[in-house]
């Protein structure tokens, strides 16, 4: 380990080592899930989940359940299923439905909060920071990583066909609704868990930006996945060191790099044979 610390002075700090391990595990998860989230026009899905996390907690407290994380998770899953259910009725575009559900859930949360107190102690749950990841968090992240990658082998083909055209996928015997519910369920769980460690801004950006950047230039699924995961990894690791050197917030640095990656792929897209 000595030579690493020699090469990267930042890694002399424990918190940087932990943060590095954390992003190296989160980036592939978000890069993978992001490919389909973008394909399904769910760019604000995790944003909606994140913003309504407090509503879950508030509801739990109001109902007298004293397990804030469980309430949060349950409410997130519930919201994800409602969004998917309404989306499948096909009356509105996905983003509209996400906006409606998100606004409704947030308003409910604010209404509960404005009636009675006792929530402030929980609101810290939501201010995750990649710099304060603990070794036990790393273990949970590893579990999430393994689970998501494993699932991806089974889900990705079907999700791709569904995202191209739903009735066509259905005609080939793919139970589209089931796959979609499983997918949004996985995203919901991953988001609600990770939010405690990395915060909402970072989560939403990591889910969408690398995939969107990859989409600018990818011509097939393999390139799309490779680029999405690759960009997520590079931006996360790079952002962490950048934040350390420049003394800016780590999440902000990572997201800015992701946005730059998007800008770069957007500008070269014509030349590489994308659209």
């Amino acid at each position: 380990m000595e030579w690493i610390a020699q090469l990267f002075p930042a890694l002399r700090y424990d918190f940087m080592q932990n943060a590095l391990l954390a992003v190296v595990m989160i980036a592939p998860v978000m890069g993978l899930l992001g490919t389909m989230a973008v394909n399904s026009r769910m760019a604000f899905f995790s944003d909606a989940l994140g913003h309504s996390a407090l509503t879950g907690i508030a509801l739990g407290v109001a109902l007298g359940i004293d397990q804030p994380v469980i309430c949060m998770l349950a409410f997130g899953l519930f919201l994800a299923l409602v969004i998917t259910r309404i989306k499948n009725a096909n009356t509105q575009s996905a983003d509209t439905i996400i906006a409606v559900c998100s606004a409704g859930a947030m308003a409910l949360g604010l209404a509960i909060l404005s009636r009675g107190g006792g929530f402030a102690k929980y609101s810290q749950i939501l201010v995750g920071d990649i710099l304060s990841v603990s070794p036990s968090d790393l273990l949970s992240l590893l579990v999430v990583l393994v689970a998501v990658v494993g699932l991806w082998f089974y889900l990705s083909n079907a999700l791709m066909l569904i995202s191209v055209n739903r009735p066509l996928a259905a005609s080939r015997g793919i139970p589209a609704a089931v796959y979609e519910y499983v997918f949004v369920g996985v995203v919901a769980v991953a988001v609600m868990l990770a939010i405690q460690w990395i915060g909402i801004l970072l989560i939403n950006a990591l889910l969408i930006l690398p995939a969107a950047a990859a989409r600018n230039i990818a011509r097939n699924m393999r390139q799309y996945h490779l680029l999405s995961v690759g960009i997520a990894l590079v931006c996360c690791v790079g952002g962490l060191f950048l934040a350390f050197e420049m003394d800016i917030a780590a999440g902000a640095a990572i997201v800015m790099l992701c946005a730059l990656a998007f800008a770069a792929t957007y500008l070269v897209r014509g030349r590489l044979g994308g659209r």
Binding site: D14, F15, R115, L131, D247
Partner: protein
Amino acid sequence: STGEETPRARLQVVASFYPMALLTERVIEGVPGVALHTMAQMNTGCLHDYQLQPRDMKILENADVLVYNGAGMEGFIGRVAALRPGLKLIEASAGQALLESAAHEHEHEDGHEAHEEHHHGDANAHLWLSPKRAMAQVENIRDELIAADPEYAQVYRENAQAFLQELEQLDGQVATLLAPCQGQGVVTFHEGFTYLLEDYGLYQAGLLQTDDENAPSPRYMAELIDHIRQEGIAALFCEKQYSTRLAEAISRETGAKIYTLDTIVSGPGGRDAYANAVLQNAQTISEALKK
């Protein structure tokens, strides 16, 4: 003043934010080999929901002692404790009787006992704004620093003694300033000054708190306006870091004037910064309440 640039001091003391730094600085001045660092320097409000920055983490990584306000102000303290088990934590507010967070004050006014169960747990953390409480905080800081660094116990004791004397003087000045206002109710827009008011014989007659997650209900606003009219309250106190829009709406409706107080979470620093700010607040209040 990040940890890595300065030559490694014997004892690295970290203050969680500006007011803690002001108090701690006076206790450690002149102790050889002690360096003081301040976290959250760029934050200009209270620490509610503060997110740790790389700068803070670097400071903490080398720290031996962390002085923090406590009472729920630093939500990140649990994470820090978990990450740095060896770090000595000094909670300045330890052992003090805390006031309940007054965010839902109005339910008391209505006399609705039924709402009691809502008030579990949230304490008002803004102790540093009252000199009386600050004195207790200084004593805590002194005792714990001595425990951490017994070699220089004498210097800490002398420093604290001198500072406490100044604070006592300040206490007297504030008491004199506020004496004419005894028993008066004050309406504020952040729960920062409840301790100051209670400690000097005034009381918090109304509180309207807003932030991203908290908006008042129109009913509560109406009750507050009624209350202000009934009691003839003529002054509304905003804080310099927070919006004055709601205060202006109430002012338009009741004719009460708006004054600005300082929560002392940011400023120029210096030996007298704390006393000056407190005195300024007391003067503002006393002037506002003068008939």
